[in-house]
Point group: D3
Chain length 248, copies 6
């Protein structure tokens, strides 16, 4: 059940049996010469929607642009400043809280979002923490979970791509997007086959260190079939994890 494809009456019904939903959150950023710019938004969206359909829980709209300043050296990357992202997450959560949602589960597709997501949670919690008279019904429980860290998912990825799955533009995430968008598969010779590993600061520094954008990955291993296996593992894991969160 997708919020964007529901009516307000559907959501009213849903709230009678659950106060929780999943919000996919990602990024628009380069994923090397063969990975899609939307990869980090598409992966959690694909997984969450499939899980929500199977298990009848609500999936919010995808928060599709996140914190990607370090990728701005590559055309097509879009970033929010962290302060903007905090403000936007405050608004999303305040809106959902207004309707009676009490638990929001962000299924995250981008490691670079994690810090700002947790900063935003603290900003949201701080409103109540600084106001001892805040009504109990304004209390929210927020969770951020990276899809690749759900139980059994990493194992699946390692089985399928035992070496050089990498850290950015990984074979696994690219496989997930090709499973859902098979016509988007690119085949292009990568130089070097396995990308370097290093640290980075801003966009210029990143591009110097990672000339084609990848970090530590050999995405030529990715196939739609592998992607399907990863999705299957992630969908199972998300359903279990979300339901536990919902009733915790």
């Amino acid at each position: 059940m997708q919020l964007a494809l529901s009516t307000w009456c559907d959501v009213e019904d849903y709230l009678r049996s659950s106060k929780a939903l999943v919000v996919p959150i990602g990024s628009m950023e380069q994923h090397g010469p063969t990975g899609l710019i939307g990869t980090d938004a598409l992966c959690p969206e694909i997984i969450a929607r499939r899980a929500g359909e199977r298990d009848n829980f609500l999936v919010g709209p995808t928060f599709n642009v996140g914190c990607a300043q370090h990728h701005l050296g590559f055309p097509g990357t879009i970033t929010l400043r962290p302060s903007t992202m905090i403000a936007a997450l405050e608004d999303w959560c305040a809106s959902l809280s207004r309707h009676g949602f009490r638990r929001i589960y962000f299924l995250n597709g981008h490691g670079g979002n994690t810090a700002t997501l947790h900063a935003a949670f603290a900003e949201i919690y701080a409103r109540r923490s600084l106001n001892p008279a805040a009504p109990e019904e304004s209390a929210l429980t927020l969770r951020a979970r990276n899809w690749w860290e759900l139980p059994a998912v990493m194992e699946t990825c390692r089985q399928l791509h035992p070496s050089n799955d990498g850290m950015h533009a990984t074979a696994s995430e690219i496989a997930v997007t090709w499973a859902a968008y098979p016509e988007q598969k690119r085949t292009r010779k990568l130089q070097p086959k396995v990308a370097p590993v290093n640290t980075f600061t801003d966009a210029n520094h990143y591009r110097e260190n990672f000339p084609d954008g990848r970090i530590g990955s050999d995405p030529s291993q990715a196939t739609a079939a592998n992607g399907e296996k990863i999705i299957a593992a992630a969908v199972d894991a998300l359903i279990t994890d979300f339901r536990r969160f919902e009733s915790s």
Copy 2:
């Protein structure tokens, strides 16, 4: 050509022949008992993607949550505060400008976004206007266009729904979403058949005046077939309007 489904190399190529793109912008808000919450994001997304595919221009990710405070009385609505939306639009535009884009065409699906969109444009232009030493290449040209106001579209809507198309949760916009998502069609008796027309301020006031969320509309007229006709008209008009903008 969708940015989310492109690689950075694709975008680099694109920028060799065009400095312009289309960004669909909408809202997550109730659309009456039979209209989808995502209607205002879906309509420009559907139209822009189809036009971009046909005419080979770039379509950015959908800015999917906008200014919808007045709809918060109905479950599922999500809003940004206008100040947040301005900050987010600044970041999107600054990112695109970084890559060399000079013209950004927002195809808008929600009347409630218009004021804040133009406020954001003024905020963005003001940076250069207050800084006479700003480099010429940081100049952007921004446009916001409501899809239903593109040439010939309104006429098509009026032909198909000559009376009671309405102002919110219109037969036309709902038809567009059903054309793209036919399985989402709802049939539900609407009471009254034609919704009232009135003004509104905040969410409580809105809900008092418009008990089921619609304004002036009878969306029971909507059909997927009508939606297809509207989309066809809008796609034609968008291609013409965007290409004129691109070369102006």
Copy 3:
């Protein structure tokens, strides 16, 4: 009755019979070689004060600097960034609400303020909309009205200046200021007599397109006598419109 020229006891008395007031809002921006920089603030101030005096309603201080980034290429123009204007309007409205005002009518003199005014209204309404427990007495009703769009005013302007009244530095608005400040009349040969019409983005772009600042106007038609007629029409219209608003 002007707020600035009232005592707090006067305002306390006023609030016993009305919860509404008019706030003139304008801009400090170039108005061509013969129009005053304050034109857009002066016009609504002149009209509102005269109407308030005649019909005994309260007129707030003039919000005299607005959104004018595009005019910054001409000396003397002052702008607020839209985000600043939103913050300032929040403060004005919160202050007035604190005293028991429930309806604030902004008589606007500058088209460039409209988007930000409505964004500010949405920002203000959103506070209540996001907080279902907000007390009823914090509800405000806000209206923005351009003085030249009041019923019968545009007709008067067209009668007096049937052609080339223009879009910026119009004969009509300049006439209104000369009616109130006859000693400020400038006579200067305008080149070309009728200014060009075009679009604009930032201040540099504006100045390129409109070398002397005017858009589409021939203000040499303006006379204090014409201004008086326009003021008379506007005062009548404002009284009617404000009183309807007050009691709606």
Copy 4:
């Protein structure tokens, strides 16, 4: 020469011989049962305009709403939050700097503005101070001066109202407004004749301590004639002080 009553060509001319102007800055706040709410904006406006006319310097629009949170217990008071006022002053100064103004002299009418004015100056200076590459022509020199502290003005006030001129709603400031707006004179028995003196924090606390709004004053001494004498002293002093500032 008032900026609001000038054309951009007038300002362009002015900038050939001076890079400095005066901006009156005040407040909209209660001034006791007989003083005008606009007193603190009107006094510097009256003085600055008269001085500017006499000595041919430019007087900007009046920054008419300032920091007056403590007066909000009395109807009609309007405040900016200090953070809003800082943002607005940044915008005013950035706009004037854009045109080539290098020295801005704020003639202040409200003690409660002083802290925020200086905080705003530090905010504006900090931009350059944090950026060692800032171009020299972006350097501004800002000054805030209370009109009653100009040389000889306080002496005049003390001569005219040797006792109980007071600290808020003073006989002197009320006299100044009555000199310019003689029809606004109020005569009302004040209880007690001389208002108490005390400290204050927020609006509730202020109203408890100062039941009719005055602090330490007996404004029944005020006369338009006294006001004229104060204005005369202040105009002389401002001309001298501004010209010294301009050429420093």
Copy 5:
């Protein structure tokens, strides 16, 4: 009793008998060739801690970086923008208010903080002033006091350094730090012996006017022994002033 060196149980106990505390507030900024960069934070910290120890009142952590943009021309200076400092002070005060503190006494060590401190107070008070329904227990009373302006302290300073104590990097403040950190004493020939006096705007302007950072001072007079005398006077005065504030 230092808050940083207390447990939460200690603070709970303290709140049973007092709702007030002292917060030292200073700056990190150059203090000439022989004065410590931390001088303005250290002085109030030294005085407040000693007084709190003697008289058993609570001393909060030191707000150690303040408004010092004008000193940024000298290495080691750190500043907050005033807007940042206001936000931080809001958070500190909201946190303390949450626990039941009602009176916060800022012992200030830096003249450049004064404006922003008072702007922050107004920002904090404004929240309640704009909200007539704010609960009484959220009322705070805030005070800022410069340590050198406490009764008898200035007299002590003048006795010890009768001439050229100066305005910045004064003999007295440097003496206070050397009393507490005697190993930090610097002896360096100052050129000129007595620093110039002048005005300043931003960091470049300051450094031009005050080549070694001092204003009007001859800190070669400073000794640890003098510092001890000043501390003794300030500790006495602070105890008296704080206890009066606490019970006012």
Copy 6:
């Protein structure tokens, strides 16, 4: 070498041989019935100062109040909102960058700061990333390191407190503070001896789950002697890690 105890000439000298410094960053928050509120600020301050003294590197002032909203249920806790902390870190880093520092190493004492620290880094990097024309000398390299995660430190802690060191108000961190402030040792019977482990959201929720504030710890194991051993290990590790960072 402490920045607060240096002169600007000292810092100028230092910058000739190093562009890096360490900034201790912590929190003011409850640490159970026997731990000091300042623990998280004191630990990195103690370690950094001792290391800086031994190895002659510069240690900045301690950023002593961080993100501690979840501890606000216990008296004495002070928090910044994450958005405020981001703004403050921007200002600290911009100031240090102004002087020529290029590498800032934050030695962190509070897990709750980590997300916001990294969000702040992204905010700071984003300025350059969004501005391709940013001068190379404005590039900063920022690092955050938790003192207990320095190589060999965790091992030392585990050796000394093999069980129930805990997650908050740990025996190890309390031991570190008692090593430096032996007179602050508290002995108080803890109930239960070992604190529970759980998740938390806002301050009310935290206090419900952790009645005396500790998480998973038995701080009765802490001794000053143990603290000395931990400090020794951390000082060694910091010197190595900082010097590697400085020259990377």
